[in-house]
């Protein structure tokens, strides 16, 4: 693989900081007050990626399924924590169901892709499992955050409608069916939109990486198709299952709405 890759020397990597400096210059000139965030973001980019590179090096050399699963669980926890932070709702406790739901759904999707489609041997082979799992988590956490944010905001905004249906004999699921539908739809739309633009507007990261690494573009395209479909499936499953689980938590005993 390395034969096709042009190595980036450390001083050339530092040259990329020019772009961060340009962004900092814009912030200064326009008084955007983003200098501190840019600095922290740049440092974290270097630190987190070098750390991940170092960890992946160890995981790839040890080849232990426990290590691979352990790393996946940490990545899932980080994704759930990030998604949790983007949802502004404190009246409903949903952190644990979110973490467990995201981990279960995305583990299943990743195993399906590595085991059945890519046919990696073994299915947990870290060179395949971790990057693919990372892509599933990274893309789907946004869809889960969007879906749950929409669920909670609509449960509050449409509380009178939910109560009206409850008062006519609906159960909690029936009274909030429209809200769940809207929330899952909001979570799924970005990944569907990205399928429309792929190859025309954007060359996605995985495909670009493989081409830069010297892979045959037709093989890179096959992987990318798998990734795009996997992300759509994962966002649909994740948004649907988590919205349904957490919707239940929006109601107290007696199907009493908690968000008003």
């Amino acid at each position: 693989m390395d034969a096709g890759v042009i190595s980036i020397a450390p001083w050339r990597l530092m040259l990329a900081l020019v772009f961060a400096l340009i962004a900092g210059g814009c912030s200064l000139a326009l008084k955007l007050d983003l200098g501190r965030d840019l600095l922290i973001g740049t440092v974290r980019t270097f630190a987190q990626l070098f750390l991940m590179g170092w960890v992946l090096g160890i995981v790839f050399s040890v080849e232990s399924p426990w290590l691979v699963m352990g790393l996946f669980l940490i990545m899932a926890a980080a994704a759930a924590q990030t998604a949790r932070g983007r949802v502004k709702e404190s009246a409903v406790a949903f952190a644990w169901p979110m973490y467990l739901g995201m981990t279960a759904v995305y583990l299943l999707v990743t195993i399906t892709v590595t085991g059945a489609i890519v046919h990696a041997q073994p299915w947990w082979k870290p060179q395949y499992f971790l990057p693919i799992g990372g892509m599933v988590l990274g893309n789907s956490m946004n869809s889960v955050a969007v879906a749950l944010d929409r669920l909670f905001s609509d449960m509050r905004a449409r509380a009178a409608m939910v109560e009206m249906k409850l008062c006519l004999g609906a159960d909690a699921a029936e009274a909030s069916a429209d809200i769940v539908r809207t929330a899952v739809r909001a979570g799924m739309i970005p990944s569907i939109n990205s399928m429309m633009a792929v190859g025309l507007v954007s060359l996605p990261g995985m495909m670009t990486g493989q081409i830069l690494g010297g892979s045959d573009p037709t093989q890179a395209i096959r992987y990318q198709i798998v990734v795009m479909l996997m992300i759509v499936g994962a966002t649909a499953l994740g948004s649907t299952i988590l919205t349904l689980i957490i919707r239940r938590r929006c109601f107290g005993p007696g199907d009493r709405p908690l968000l008003r």
């Binding site: 109560e163 009206m164 008062c167 004999g169 199907d255 009493r256 709405p257």
Partner: protein, 244 residues
């Protein structure tokens, strides 16, 4: 309220014959994080016999709506018991309870779609499985009973006035054949004709159908055809005034 008493009407003693609706030593407070609890009910007792028309008055913010919402489990008491025909409401399946005790919100809520779709909404829920939905003739007759027979069933419900929506919501509730109607300030935003139609229908529900009504109003109000049980809620205390 010099004539007020804090017990229940003599005709509604619980053991003699279980009242249709009852509260027994009910306490309720609203609690928000970081704020002191707002007490709404302090050991409230209430007994409304089957077929009665109860009128609940009191100042704004006293908790009249909360009291209605306790009967259909949209609120849960901190302590005490809420009973429907002698049975605790929390022992009933919520959907079945809310079919028996129909709560009409203060602001009428309609779903996007025609008047017909709105009237048939309750018949699409699981609790209506095996029940034949009413036909157009029954829907039109229901609207006519509320002096709204001129509203076409095909009209978009969103285009109706507030008064027409309130009447539509009441017809929708009556079509499910409840035992109890809980009416939360049903006429506060209505014109005189709409208000009269709604109150006539509420009184007719008692007199003709044998149903029980609890009507919340912040203003003095005298039903035309029934002698109401008068309750007042103020400062967390629920008091009953004997009919003069």
């Amino acid at each position: 309220m010099s004539a007020s008493q804090t017990n229940t009407p003599p005709s509604a003693t619980p053991q003699a014959n279980a009242p249709q609706l009852a509260l027994s030593a009910v306490h309720f407070s609203y609690r928000r994080p970081g704020e002191a609890a707002r007490v709404v009910l302090k050991g409230a007792d209430m007994a409304v016999p089957r077929g009665a028309f109860a009128l609940l008055t009191g100042p704004s913010g006293a908790g009249k709506s909360t009291l209605l919402r306790l009967f259909c489990r949209l609120e849960e008491p901190d302590a005490g018991r809420v009973l429907l025909a002698g049975e605790p409401v929390d022992a009933l399946i919520p959907a079945i309870l809310r079919r028996r005790v129909s709560y009409l919100q203060q602001t009428p809520v309609v779903v996007p779609g025609s008047v017909r779709e709105n009237l048939l909404l309750p018949f699409g829920f699981k609790v209506s499985a095996g029940q034949n939905p009413p036909g157009d003739a029954e829907l039109s007759a229901g609207l006519a009973r509320l002096a709204a027979g001129d509203i076409p069933l095909s009209q978009e419900a969103g285009t109706l006035s507030v008064g027409q929506r309130q009447r539509l919501c009441l017809v929708r509730a009556l079509l499910t054949r409840p035992e109890v109607l809980l009416l939360d300030e049903p006429v506060s935003a209505l014109d005189a004709d709409s208000a009269r139609a709604v109150l006539d229908a509420a009184e007719g529900f008692c007199l003709d159908d044998g149903g029980t009504v609890v009507l919340v109003s912040h203003a003095a109000f005298a039903p035309a055809r029934v002698v109401p049980l008068r309750y007042e809620l103020s400062g967390g205390a629920l008091s009953w005034t004997p009919a003069s």
